[in-house]
Each structure stands twice: as structure tokens, then as C-alpha cells.
Amino acid sequence: MFWTKLKSDLEILVRWLGVLDRADWVWRWFVKTKVPTLFGLFAGFLLVSTPLFAHHGQAAYDLTKKLTVRGTVTDFTVTNPHAHFSFDAKDDKGKVQNWTMELSTPLMLMRTGWTRTILKPGDAVTVTFYPSKNGAGLGYLDNVVLADGTMLYRGGSTHLGEQGVSQ
């Protein structure tokens, strides 16, 4: 009973506002003019939001593959031009593999929550990264989660809340 009343009220209101009389041409106008623009904007957005990487052989990484691996830190080197850390992880056959993760520069790391001692050998970490195409155990870090739940990103511009590229 309530819903019937509500429906009839809305119908009265809509007719009173004359919306239904205008609705058809409004819809046609929208589809003809706005949808192609929106589609173009969307397609353009997809194009520019493709991950772009600069020098230092980011070409080496398979950007279509994002892996998440649990492991133990073996090394953390905070140096220019790119800091890096290594960790041991068991592969799916139970064999231990050592990975090296490429990070941003020390100055940018420090601006995004890292410290020089935030990773220590023996720390348990969950690492998400793009692996190198050659299977040599190198990765371009997306993020690392520490045992206490802290999530750290690579340190590049993307995770400063800016649009653009992870460096």
C-alpha cells in the first residue's frame, strides 16, 4: 500500500515537473553527444594510466605479471640511485629463491614512510612486485607489508597521491 502510494506520488511529481515530456529528447541528446565524449575520455584515460617506466632498464620487468610472495629479508641497501632489498622465499616447489626488489631513491623513500632501518635481515615480509622478464630474481616493487601490518610503497610519485608514474 505504501509503495503503491509512493509510486503514484512520484508519477504525479514527475508529470508535474514535466520531466517525462522532456525525457525522451534528453536521453537522445545524451547518447548522441555525451556518450562518445565520455567513451573517448575513458579510452584516453586508460592510455595514459598505463604504467610508464623510465631508464635503468625498467624494460626488464614484466608489467603484466604482479606477484605477491611471503619471505624473509636478507638485505636492505639504502643507496642512490635506487635503494633495494632482498628476501628469501620458497617457490612452489619448496626451493628457496632469493629476490631483489628495486625501490625508489632514499630521499623519496624517507618521504613515504620508510626509514633506513625499517627492514632488517630476518624480518618477515609480504612483497608485491613485477618480476623481471628473465627470471633472474629481480623485481620492481609495488608494495611490501611488514609483520606489524605496515604497508610501504616503492617511494615513487604514484604513491604520493599524485597521478603519474612510479619511478
Binding site: 511529481l13 610508464l52 631508464h55 631513491t105 624517507m110 608514474v165
Partner: protein, 257 residues
């Protein structure tokens, strides 16, 4: 029936009237009246600025002169961006990897911020990337007719309303124009327009005029940069030792067949 209609109209009207207020709650800074903290400063770009990393300043519609295209193809690393060339390998001839200076405008969109320091007669830009300083003469002098060719060129600036417009010539031809390796010649005339949008952001538009290397002039931008209060420029020098260590610890892994 009339009363119900009236009731609905009032309700609808109230919802419409209050929704901008809801938006204003979520975007408080936009609805606050301008004050000393949020007003657009006049003739003032002081502070530490940061823009997102930008890779390529040359649109596909701009053609290189033949020698420039040959140089570009032989020495840059290729990137896949939509329909642009595919990355071939990890060999990289980027001159900044052996510590050549990063010139403008490439240095604006490095990973690191820069600071604008305004002093009488000059505006200094202090880039964190490799501790680079660049000065813009604001004393009304014209561009030199026969400048010495340098990494950063010679820059003169003026105010155009509240915009800062900078002209630079006298670049040597040793640096890459951008991070994908576009070349430029020593005839490059770069114009930069800085437009203060609001207290926390500015836009930078570049105009390139290098007939020796490109067949047309073109503009790039506007690109937005954000003010970073509280950020301080840190020390970052490029050293051969750092580059060699990086090569050993990361690049060699990447270059393994």
C-alpha cells in the same frame, strides 16, 4: 493530493538545496572563503614543488629533423606506451647514468622535488635531482645574442600578470630533452610559463622552438605541480661509485639473458 504534492516538492527542493552543502562538507577547502593561507600569492612561487614523473615531451605529431631522428633511434631506450615502440632490451645509453647533468625541462619531472627561491633580480631553482641549481635573471636583461653554450642554458624571466614567463637559450646539445631520449640542438629556445592556480598548485607550460632538431614548434602542458610545505631539499649527488654499485647489484641481474 495537493498537500502531498506540496510535501514532495518541498522535500525534493530541500534535498537539492542541501546537496551542494553536502559537497562542500566533503571539499571543505574549496568552499572556504579565500584567506591568507589559501589566497593566490602575487608574483611569488617560493617553496618546494613536486610534479608527477613525466616521460616524453614530444607529441607524435612533431617530426624530428633526419639527423635528430637517427640519433634518437640509435641511442634511446624504447618504451611501450600504447602504439609507441616496444622495449627492445635493457641496454641504456641515458647520459645521466654516467652522471651527466640533467637539464631543464627534463629535471622538472624527475622523481625529486625542487625549490624556487626568489631573491632581488633573480629567481633560483634548486633541484634535488643531482643537486642542480639554475638561475633566472629577472632584472630586465635580454637573452644574450651569442651565449656560451651550457648544460642549463641562460634564462631570463618576466612577469606577465601573475604568470612567470621564462626564456632560455644557449643550451649545449649534450643532454636529453626528456626521459625517452629525444635530442635537441644548441639552437633550442625554451619558453616556460608558470601559472599559479591557487596557493597549493601551479601549472607549467613549455614551448619548444628548435628548428635545427625539429620541423615545428610545439607546446607541452599545462602540467600541474603541487606545493609541498614541510619538504626540504635533501642532498643527492650523482657519483660514479653509486652508479657502478647499482649496475653491479641491480642492472646486471636485469641484463642477464
Amino acid at each position: 493530493m495537493r498537500n502531498r504534492l506540496k510535501g514532495w516538492t518541498i522535500t525534493l527542493g530541500a534535498v537539492v538545496a542541501f546537496s551542494p552543502a553536502l559537497h562542500a562538507q566533503q571539499n571543505a577547502s574549496q568552499s572556504q572563503p579565500p584567506d591568507a593561507r589559501t589566497a593566490v600569492p602575487a608574483h611569488d612561487f617560493s617553496g618546494v614543488w613536486y610534479g608527477p614523473f613525466e616521460l616524453n615531451f614530444v607529441p607524435a605529431s612533431v617530426t624530428m629533423q633526419p639527423w635528430a631522428a637517427a640519433k634518437f633511434n640509435s641511442e634511446r631506450t624504447q618504451y611501450k606506451v600504447g602504439d609507441r615502440p616496444v622495449v627492445k632490451d635493457t641496454t641504456n645509453t641515458d647520459p645521466i647514468l654516467h652522471c651527466d647533468p640533467v637539464s631543464i625541462p627534463r629535471i622538472y619531472w624527475s622523481v625529486h622535488p625542487f625549490e624556487i627561491i626568489q631573491i632581488p633580480g633573480r629567481i633560483l631553482m634548486y633541484f634535488e635531482e643531482f643537486h642542480t641549481i639554475r638561475e633566472i635573471w629577472m632584472d630586465g636583461r635580454p637573452l644574450p645574442k651569442d651565449p656560451e653554450l651550457t648544460w642549463m642554458g641562460t634564462s631570463v624571466g618576466r612577469w606577465d600578470g601573475n604568470d612567470l614567463v621564462v626564456d632560455t637559450m644557449g643550451f649545449n646539445d649534450k643532454s636529453w630533452l626528456d626521459s625517452v631520449g629525444h635530442p635537441h640542438s644548441d639552437a633550442l629556445h625554451l619558453t616556460e610559463r608558470f601559472h599559479r592556480v591557487d596557493h597549493d598548485s601551479m601549472q607549467l607550460t613549455l614551448t619548444f622552438d628548435d628548428p635545427k632538431a625539429y620541423t615545428t614548434r610545439w607546446s607541452y602542458g599545462p602540467k600541474t605541480m603541487k606545493l609541498k610545505p614541510g619538504w626540504e631539499i635533501g642532498e643527492l649527488f650523482c657519483t660514479i661509485e653509486d652508479q657502478k654499485n647499482f649496475e653491479k647489484e641491480v642492472m646486471e641481474l636485469a641484463n642477464k639473458p
